[in-house]
Structures are given as structure tokens and as C-alpha cells.
Subunit: 292 residues, 4 copies
């Protein structure tokens, strides 16, 4: 909490306090309304930028779209200024992840006054949509799923080795395909052939390049079936880790249960030791008779 | 059961009773025959609507298809009237999910008498196929699979976060692709580029748009491999929940088993020892007869 | 074993005996060589039929291919005759699955003498490749995997419901796409639109039909992401069943272990009952003192 | 370690010793720098070969690329010579997997002096990228994942049977598609139809061949849904094995725990009762001191 919070000295401090709660808070109705309004503004401004790239729309509504973009830019600029103004450590906000994105999403429009065409960089404000995670507290759901996170982290290295192996295979077979098919059949270079191999191995299959020779078709079929089959590998890698994580927690649960079930909590009146067998008649520690 | 069931007062009541059993029942031969006949009629009427949209067929058999559609509409109208007539609470049926679908599947044809072309909305009667679930009691199989349902419900929020993240990535990379490839290579607008990104990320790969620049091809390859790899994430999310559910029920099973197998808490009246076998007749400790 | 086996009366019987071991046996070197030779013949005959359909090859080598086909047909006919000749119950073989396939793979060629063009049905001899399962005892590996089989059988109904739901969704959205895109954009009929929907939902994505309208593209994107995401459902269904199966066998293992560990096998000298507590001093059944 | 290591007799021996540590070692800074430099050289040489196949680049920089290739070839030749020179058992290295790849990656360039065009075989040096596994010790991560390896090995035969069945289905349906669609619709031969079937079944979907008849489209839809659904089978096969492996290790863990936790078999010298806590000093039954 900013320092002026605890001890607001002026009307300005009280104003900052209120604005802070609206902008950064998510629990008050005003704070929620602000967040939802902001999200809608971000979405609309993203749509405006998208619409500008559609020739049919841009032809008829070019100036209207530019005006809309300026309106959104001014709104976001005001919001940016307010955020700096009310935060206790403005520098911390400015150099934070969201602070940099907020700046990047208003800069291009102002730059376009000097450098023509630079306003297209406004698309960067799409990143502001990431705020949704904060607003709707979606991250909490993710943090809850720590088991999946641990599993994914643990399988990181294995997935990297898997992808690296896939890449080497793709480069090798891509080179082979280049020599088999050749430029005459559309495999104009090794990089393009590698592109074809990746397109086939991942079962994307654009169809812009298709093998014409019998050997090329055979190799492609092997590639497809391989790509189709080895999807079980990343799934398997993550699966093993998930099973381990769940197994651990199951074991823990069982252990706790057993611990609480097996040896009871009767306390020896003589030496205060607990954890006796249910049918114990004497304290296992001092030999004193129990339950007298 | 409708009230006239318990005490049919007239011949009409008896008729309603019989019709009710045929229409709503699934256990009598007549009820089963009605359901199967209805399903065949629905399928045939759907095929009729489909056939109408195939130019080659419509050209030669237009009037025949229209007659067929009217026949099916009249059959469904009669069925709809009967359903209202025999049900105890007609309003409840009329405003139920199936009641509304039944009405929507006959309305368009009658509307077409006044508004030309509106009979194409008859396609809505495809929804009547959902009745199959009721007829063949398929839902029971699904309800049985409560573990999967619980797992899917529990992973709902995580799958939403996953899809939302995928969407932001798609919009970002789609925008990037637009600036890399440009309208000259078929990436005419940001929405079309986002469309391309989704097509590639989900490994659909139409091939109507294909990157022509080296950078665009490289980014697409990264996209494909990512799309191919992250399919392990939704599978993993559901997998964790499934494993938890199964783990829970396994634990429960084990606990029950332990409870029923292990030694019970009956206390020997003679020596106060407990932990006897469930079928024990004598105290294992002092040999005294139990339960007297 | 055929009856002439136990008591060969003539030289013919001895010959039949030897042929039987070669044809049906897989353990002798001659039997193995026969099986491998047969497989090679089947593969070569399949390749011959395939080659016949390749214009470039058929143009130059038509008569050679026909001669080859006749050679394979005569070989398979001889083999068929021998199989009938040496088997104890010829009728059982003739009407068995493999018996019918063996007949179907030689019939078309002879039929082609009377009905021109019918020899293309020879492709049916591809089915003879199923023998590979028997020869290399591959089925044993599958039978071993009874857990997967049980899991797949148990999830049969759920997978059917899943596929049926997918189908209804495909028909519905296909119809929608027809009205959104229309014949002008290549969606010439509802069946073709349904074809497009299935192509998209299963992430196949031929690209022969691609939405041109904004709404059609949006709906297609939803379809792709759905298709990409719901692959977790069949995997999940089978996963739950697998987990159950493995869980059961784990539990069984634990129970067995526990059974052997908890109650010991001491037998009461008085009533012959066993299964006493490890620390029992008296028989729980007859109250007789143990271990005397 | 080579023999000259233990007892270097000359300056040459000392030199060999030092070079050996640099080339084969990965723990010294010099060794690491050598490995990283080598990897960069391999990558650059692969890029050079790729660039040579891109017409636009080759047109303008042909001689520069050839010079670059010669530089890399000379570097790799020197490295190859050094590796032979310093290794204790040169023959073992020469005939090892990496030794052969190292030779194959320099041979084509020298061969191109005599046989024109043979330098394109230099692409084989892509295989040298496999060294990355050794340098970054990636294999260790893989070896750690022994559970996945065991699971994959155990499911090898089942996956083979699965793929073989898929292949027979593909050949059969491919043949069917050939007779349904025919050369008029692009299904010019059975091998091409089988190619189409594999393309569809694995959800690759190039779109270069698309069924035009209603029956062909229907069969293709069945194929797509099948292909989409049976991906659960290989995943399931590996899943069963993973679950078994994890289950085994969980059981083992539990057993060990139980062994260490449960009551031990020490017998009280006074009352012959057993099943005391591991840290018990007195008999829980008669209060007598244990272990005297």
C-alpha cells in the first residue's frame, strides 16, 4: 500500500487513494467495472487495428478508423499517466512487464506523427489482453494445477531432446526429399524440403508441395505414419511425470492415514510418550502400565 | 404418470393411455417400433433436405423432394399434436428442450407458404436426432462415466486458460505473419493471418495460404512444432484429473477393504483385548467366548 | 491332428502328413520357409496388381503383368487345393475366414476369362496379408495386452456416444456453413459442407474448400480449436478405463501380499482352522490354546 | 585413457595429451569451447549447403559458397586427422558410429574433384549434429527417463501390430477408393490411392487428391473419423505400460515403507509376544524390558 494511504494529507492524496483502488483493485464494484471497461476498450482497439488491414473496410472507413485509434490511444495514455501518478513506486510499475506493454501500446500512434506507417505497431496492444489473467484471477486456477506444472517442468529436458531429434530427422529427410523429388516437382531448395518435411511430420499437410515420384511418396507415407505415431511420445513423457506426481501424493495420503490409524494416541501417564499399539497394555518406552 | 392413467374414465382416456405408452415408452415392442420408425423418418427427412441442396438431384426431382418434405412435415406435425394431446402436462412438454426442437422442425415448412425460401430452416430437424440418446439409453453409458465427467468439469477452467493463451498467441503471431508476408503473398489482412495461424497451430493445414518468405516459413515451422507438441497439455490436464479421480476411488476401495478385512474393535468381556477377526468366536488373547 | 496322422496307411497318407506339417506348421524349418515364401508371393502379387493400375507401367509391360498375375493365381490355386487335400476337415477350412479369403483371391482371375475386367477384384488377395499375424505369432503379443483390450471394450459405448455427438455437431455446423458460405464460395450442397466440417474437425484440412466470408472463417476457427481440443476426450475415455484396469491389478497384488502378511498360517491343532493373528494365543474359532 | 597419457615420453606425447583433452573432454574450458565451436561450424556448413540449393542465392554467390564449403571441409578434415592422431585406438574411432559420420561428411567434397556434382552428398554432415547429445549431456536426461524407455520397449510389438493393421486397412481402402473414384477424379493408380488413404488416415490432408463422388466422400469421412479416433490406441498402448511401470515402483515404495514402519518381529523373552515398535524398550504386553 502506498504511503499516502495510511496518512492522506491533502485532497489530492485522497483522490490518489480512490483512483488507486479503482485502477489496481479488483474487489470493489468500481474496480471491477474499470477492469471490464478496460478489457472491452483493448478488444475494440485490437479490432480497429485488424479492420484497418482489411482492404474493403479500410477503403470506405479509413479516416473513421484512424479517429477511433486516436481515441483509444488517448484513453490508454490517460490510463498510463494515472497508473504512474497513483502508484507508490512509479518506477517499479514503469519497468514492470505490464508497464512496458502499456507504454508500447501507446507509443506507435504518437510515433506515426513523425514516422509515417509506424502506427501499425499498435498491434502490440494485443499483449494487454494478458491482463485478463489478472482480472478474472485465472492464474489462480493455473497455480492450483501445480501437479501439471511440476510434470511439465520435469519433462522439459526430455521434450527438448524429443524436439531436437525430430528436427534432425526433419533436416535429414528434407535433404533426402530434395534429392529424390528435385526442383522439377516443386522441391526447389533444401530449406523448402525441410519445410515440407515438418509440414508432413506434424500432420499439418498444406498440400502446396506434394511428392510426385514413387520413392518420394513412399518416404512421405513413412513420415506421416511416424508423425502420427510419435505423438504418443510427448504425451507419454508428460504422462509419466503426471503419474509420478499423482502417485507421490496418493502415497503421502495413504501414509498419513496409516500413521493416524495404526498406532493410537494414548499418552502414557508416566512418561508422556504417545503412539502405542492399540492393544498395548504397557508403555513401550518406560514399561509403565497404560490406562490406569 | 398422467392422472387419467390411474383411473381411465372414457374410451378416449384408454386411447390416450395406449398412445402414451407407445410414444413415451421404450420397453414395449410397440414403443420400440415407434421410436425406431421415428428415427428412420427423421434421418430420411434430413437426407431429403440435404438432397435438395445438391444441384444435380434438385434439378430433376425438385417437386418430388418438396412432396417428400411435406409428407415428413405432416407426420411430425401429427406426432407433435399427439405428444401434446397425451401428455399430462402439455405445457411442460411444449417448453421442454425436445418440445421446442419438435416445433422448430415443423414450423419452417408451414412458414414457407407465406415466406418463400424459409423451408430451408427445416434443417433444424437434425436436432431431433438427439432423441437417439433417449431411445437407445446411451446417456446411461455416459452417466456411468462420472469419473470422466468430474475430470472434465474440474479441468474446465484450466482448459479455458489454455485456449485463451493459445488464442492470444494466435492473434500475436497472426499479426506478425501479416507484417512478414504481406498482402502480396496472400496474407491480405490481420484476421486472415490469424485464420492462417489457427489453421497451422491446430495442424489442420488447408494450404490456401502458404508463407513465401524464409522468415514466414521459419515462424510457421515453429508454430507447427508448437501446435504438435502442446496437444500434450490438454491431454495432460484431463489426465491429471482422471488420475486423481481414479486415485481417490482406489484409495476408498482400499480403505473399505481394510475396514472390512482388518480386525474389528469388539472388546473381550473377560480381558478387554480388542482387534479380533470379524468371524472370531473366541478371544485370541484369553480364549474367552466373545459376544455373550 | 488329422486321423491319418496317427495311423498312416499308405504312401499317400505319409505324403499328406508331410505336406500338412509344411503348410500348417510354423515350427519346422520347412514350415517356416513355406510361410515366408507364401508371404513374399502374396506381396509380389499385390504389387503386380498395383503396377497394373499405373498407366506408365501398364502401357509397356501389360502382357508381362498379366502373365505374372496368372503365375501367382496358379500358385495360390495349387496351395488352395493342397490345403483342402491335406486338412482333416476340408469343409471347416473352406468355410473358415482364411479359407474364404484364399478362394476369393484366386476366383477373380478365372472369372476374367468369362467376364472381362473382373480380374481387378484380385486386389482382394491383399487380405491374405492378414496371415502374417499367424506366421509371426503377432496375435500372441496382442492377446497379452488384455488390459488394453478390456479398456477398449469397456469404453466402446462411450466412444460411440462421442462419435455420434461429433457427427450431429458436424451435420449441424455443416448445414450452418452451407447457409453462411453458399454455393458461390464452393459450399455447393449440405453434404459437401458436412464433408468440409468433418475435414476441419478431424484436423485433416484438405483445403479444397475454404471459407471466404468472415463469419464462415470465424466458425471454422472455432471448429478447429474444438477439434484440436476434444481429442483429449477419446484419449481420456480410454485413459480412465486403463487406469481402472491397472488400478484393479495393483490392488489385487497388494491384497495378495497383505493376505499373506497379516494373518498367519498357523493351524489350530484342535479344529484345523487357520488365519490367526500373529499374536493370537487362542484359536479365534474354538477357543483352543494355540502353539502347544 | 591412451597409454602415452600415463607416461608421456616426448614433447609430441605431451601435445597429443593436450589435444586429446581438448577434443574429447567436455569438462575443461578449452574442451567446452572446442565443442561449441565445432557445433557452430557444423551448423554453418549445413546452412552453406542449404543456401547452395536456393536458386536466388546460388546465382549470385555460387563461388563464395563453394569456397565456404571447402573451408569447412578442410576444418573437418583437420579435426578428423587430429581425432585419429590422438586417440589411443585409432581403428576403434574410425569404425565407430561418429567416426564413419565424420569421414562421410568430408569425403563428398574431395570426391567432387573427380566426380562432378557429388559434393551435394555433403548434406550428410547434418548427422554430425547428433554430437550435440554428447556435448550437452542430453542423453543423461533420456537415460534417466528409463520408465518411458521400458514402456516404449514393452509396447514395441503392440505398436508394430497396430501400424501393420493400419497399413493393411490403408491398402484395402486405397484399392476401394481407386475403384470408386477412378482416374477421372485424380485417383490415377492404386499406389496413389493408398497414398491418399494414408494422407487422410493420419490427418495430414494435403488436398492434392480429393474425392469427387458421394461414395468416395462418405468413405473418406469414415476414414478421417477413424484416423482421428484411433490415435487413442498408440497413446493407450504406451499409457498401459507407463501405468504398469509407475504402479510397480509405487508398490515397491509402499512395500519398503511398510517394511521399515511396521512392528518388528522381536519376541519378548518373558511373554513371547512379538510385534513391538521398532523403538520399543519394554514389551507392550507384559511390561518386561526387551532386548536384555
Amino acid at each position: 500500500m502506498p504511503s499516502y494511504f495510511d496518512n492522506p494529507k491533502s485532497k489530492l492524496d485522497l483522490f490518489r487513494q480512490q483512483v488507486y483502488i479503482i485502477i489496481y483493485g479488483v474487489n470493489t464494484p468500481a474496480g471491477k467495472a474499470f477492469d471490464v471497461g478496460l478489457l472491452i476498450a483493448i478488444l475494440l482497439s485490437v479490432f480497429t487495428i485488424m479492420a484497418e488491414t482489411i482492404e474493403g473496410i479500410d477503403l470506405y472507413y479509413h479516416s473513421e478508423l484512424i479517429i477511433l485509434e486516436w481515441i483509444f490511444t488517448i484513453i490508454f495514455s490517460l490510463e498510463y499517466a494515472l497508473r504512474i501518478f497513483v502508484s507508490k513506486k512509479p518506477l517499479k510499475y514503469i519497468f514492470s512487464f505490464y508497464g512496458i506493454i502499456d507504454l508500447l501500446s501507446i507509443m506507435p500512434m504518437f510515433l506515426s506523427l513523425f514516422i509515417k506507417g509506424s502506427h501499425i505497431l499498435s498491434s502490440l496492444r494485443i499483449l494487454r489482453l494478458l491482463r485478463l489473467f489478472r482480472v478474472f484471477r485465472l492464474m489462480e486456477f493455473m497455480q492450483e494445477s501445480s501437479k501439471l506444472k511440476v510434470a511439465l517442468m520435469a519433462s522439459r529436458a526430455k521434450i527438448f531432446v524429443f524436439l531436437y531429434t525430430v528436427l534432425i530427422i526433419a533436416i535429414l529427410i528434407g535433404t533426402l526429399m530434395y534429392y529424390i523429388e528435385g526442383p522439377a516437382n516443386g522441391f526447389t531448395s533444401i530449406p523448402k524440403s525441410v519445410f515440407y518435411t515438418i509440414v508432413t511430420l506434424t500432420t499439418v499437410g498444406y498440400g502446396d508441395m506434394v511428392p510426385a515420384t514413387a520413392l518420394g511418396q513412399f518416404l512421405s507415407m513413412v513420415l506421416m505414419v511416424t508423425g502420427y505415431g510419435i505423438i504418443a511420445v510427448p504425451t507419454g513423457i508428460v504422462g509419466v511425470e503426471i503419474a509420478k506426481e499423482v502417485g507421490k501424493s496418493l502415497n503421502e495420503q495413504q501414509r498419513k492415514e496409516k500413521d493416524s490409524n495404526t498406532l493410537n494416541g494414548t499418552v502414557c501417564a508416566h512418561c508422556n510418550v504417545e503412539g502405542h499399539r492399540n492393544d498395548a497394555e504397557y508403555c513401550y518406552h518406560c514399561g509403565h502400565q497404560l490406562n490406569i
